[in-house]
């Protein structure tokens, strides 16, 4: 039980990443695939945060001077995640706008029917 308690964030993060990958690989609807990419992104962000997370830790800013630095949450992964979220939003927006154009051209979002280009 303690294994689960100690690693719950990692289990959650990789669960999300694998669910996202599964959706990308299995689903045929483009919107669902894009949702899968988004879920995978969320999992990665959770994973990054979990690396620097400390149970009952404090934020490294605005804390009183007597708090030792080992009790603080690592701020670097949080800065990374902020950047990663912004990048994820950009990719998502581009993907959705491409999906709109795709629908205009093909009249469907089913990826099985969109295969004009081949080897």
């Amino acid at each position: 039980m303690s294994f689960l308690q100690n690693n719950i964030y990692y289990i959650g993060a990789f669960g999300l990443i694998l669910i996202g990958l599964l959706i990308v690989l299995v689903k045929h609807n483009l919107i669902k695939v894009i949702i899968g990419l988004s879920i995978m992104d969320t999992g990665i962000n959770l994973f990054l945060i979990a690396i620097g997370y400390l149970r009952n830790g404090t934020a490294p800013i605005f804390s009183s001077p007597e708090v030792e630095s080992v009790l603080m949450v690592d701020p670097v992964p949080q800065a990374l995640v902020l950047t990663a979220i912004v990048i994820g939003v950009a990719v998502l927006a581009l993907a959705l706008s491409l999906a709109i154009r795709l629908y205009k051209h093909f009249g469907t979002l089913d990826l099985r029917k969109i295969k004009e280009l081949k080897w």
Binding site: V33, L37, V76, V91, L102, L117
Partner: protein, 487 residues
């Protein structure tokens, strides 16, 4: 001394100025990328003597490494930055007349962002910063592939986006693992601490990062997006994607495998992967009847050859691999640019529609021929010294396995020669009809510049080879990299 940060800052700043400049004067917009890349090229040339003496390390924000982000401008980084500015400059001159329809302002903006991202990847010394620049490169290339907004463009852009996003996700997970193990993101700091942990712990992050970057650099099992994306993008963008984007991905793979991890046990695996990529690429290219798809598959093959050369990890082969890389950027650029106007005139991408082009567009056909000869590796052109260095360096290793792989490299060159000569035969020795019309002056300028470069590098390779030799020691000599960053 000029600050190398400007190599990234100037194109990035000007990229977001493009809409403003466009609202001030319509005519000026097209010339913004030309100006920015001209500036970059001059800056790179001016930095050469200083960098050859000592690599320049810039600490952004004034934090000394391993804290903060640093830029590392060594010979290898400068080689890539120079190559990006050169190819970018030539292609931006070409697109002055080639890009006329569609959202022109967005084209120039995204084009400069793409080159900014590429320059950032090759200059940065921080893993997460590498990821960020990589994403700038990827997102702008997704958008540029769909520039025409036609069926093929949108479809291939979606394919590229899905595969690329999964790839960058894997890269980010790998970076997360590395941060969890070492508590730092500085590449030199990680390279120093890598010996302190067990090698088996490093396996998962390395595979994740190589797989993530491998999608962008089109290493064999991960390259399904490339032929579609390269063939449906506008020709100027195909030239940049083929000549810059996948090379930058390969740079990142090499930097991470050689400098950061430096585990020599798996180099042979990469050599095999390179040969596999080379053979698959060349054989698929042989089967194509669409000229742009043929060139795209040929890019996959060349990437395989360069990966093979880098993976042998001796000074000779890496120098040869980098020479081949420079040659590939220039000649594949030339091939795509000349094919672009031939397609524009004939209205079709089929090779059979190019029959008799040698009479109708003599200069463009000559440019295509020079590029094809150089890529195959015929002597007076730039492809010869690169392939020669790779083969002779690989044979010097004297291992049976490597000798067999070299045999496969030579076999693939024969395949490459066959499909390129088939196109050249169609250009010159078959009759076709159509009016005789030249390409516009800007396109001709771009093509002639590249042709002169190819011949100059082929006739006098020592000029470049000396610089490449110090670039290859920059890649292989891990200790001096660590030493110059963490003084």
């Amino acid at each position: 001394m000029v600050n190398p940060v400007l190599l990234i800052a100037v194109p990035l700043g000007l990229a977001f100025m493009v809409p403003l400049i466009d609202s001030a004067s319509r005519k000026l917009t097209r010339f913004v990328p030309v100006a920015a890349l001209m500036f970059n090229l001059i800056l790179c040339i001016r930095l050469i003597p200083a960098v050859l003496e000592n690599p320049i390390v810039i600490n952004l924000g004034g934090f000394t490494p391993p804290f903060g982000i640093n830029l590392f401008v060594g010979p290898l980084g400068l080689l890539f930055a120079g190559l990006i500015s050169l190819a970018g400059l030539v292609v931006s001159i070409y697109s002055l007349s080639y890009i006329k329809n569609g959202p022109v302002v967005k084209y120039h903006m995204l084009y400069m962002l793409l080159l900014t991202g590429a320059t950032g990847v090759v200059l940065t010394g921080d893993l997460f910063n590498l990821f960020v620049f990589f994403e700038i490169l990827c997102i702008s290339s997704y958008a540029l592939v769909a520039y025409h907004g036609d069926r093929a463009g949108i479809e291939s852009s979606i394919k590229y986006l899905i595969q690329g996003t999964v790839g960058s996700g894997l890269l980010l997970i790998g970076i997360g693992f590395i941060y969890g193990i070492f508590g730092t993101l500085n590449m030199a700091d990680i390279a120093m601490k890598i010996a302190t942990v067990e090698q088996s712990t490093l396996f998962v992050p390395m595979i994740l990062m190589v797989a993530g970057l491998g999608v962008e650099s089109a290493i064999f099992p991960l390259n399904a997006w490339l032929p579609d994306a390269h063939s449906s993008a506008p020709s100027s963008i195909s030239a940049i994607l083929s000549g810059i984007a996948i090379e930058v991905g390969l740079y990142a793979v090499a930097r991470i495998v050689f400098t950061v991890f430096g585990i020599s046990d798996i180099y042979l695996f990469f050599a095999f992967l390179g040969i596999l990529t080379l053979l698959i690429g060349e054989m698929c290219a042989f089967a194509q009847s669409n000229i742009k798809r043929m060139l795209a598959y040929s890019s996959i093959g060349q990437i395989g050859l360069i990966l093979f050369a880098l993976a042998l990890a001796t000074n000779n082969t890496v120098t040869g691999g980098l020479f081949q890389l420079v040659n590939h950027t220039i000649s594949k650029g030339l091939l795509f640019l000349s094919a672009g106007y031939m397609i524009y005139r004939s209205g079709s991408m089929e090779i059979s529609s190019l029959n008799g082009m040698g009479k109708r567009m003599p200069l463009t056909s000559l440019a295509f021929t020079v590029g094809a000869f150089s890529l195959v590796g015929l002597p007076p052109f730039a492809g010869f010294p690169g392939k020669f260095l790779i083969v002779s360096g690989a044979l010097l290793k004297g291992q049976m396995v490597i000798n067999i792989l070299v045999g496969l490299v030579l076999l693939s060159t024969v395949i490459e020669g066959t499909y390129f000569f088939r196109v050249i035969q169609a250009l010159y020795f078959k009759d076709g009809n159509g009016e005789r019309k030249r390409a516009p002056a800007t396109a001709v300028t771009a093509m002639i510049t590249l042709m002169i470069l190819i011949v100059a590098l082929g006739v006098y390779p020592k000029f470049l080879a000396d610089f490449l030799s110090s670039a290859s020691s920059d890649l292989l000599d891990k200790m001096s990299y660590v030493g110059s960053v963490l003084k």
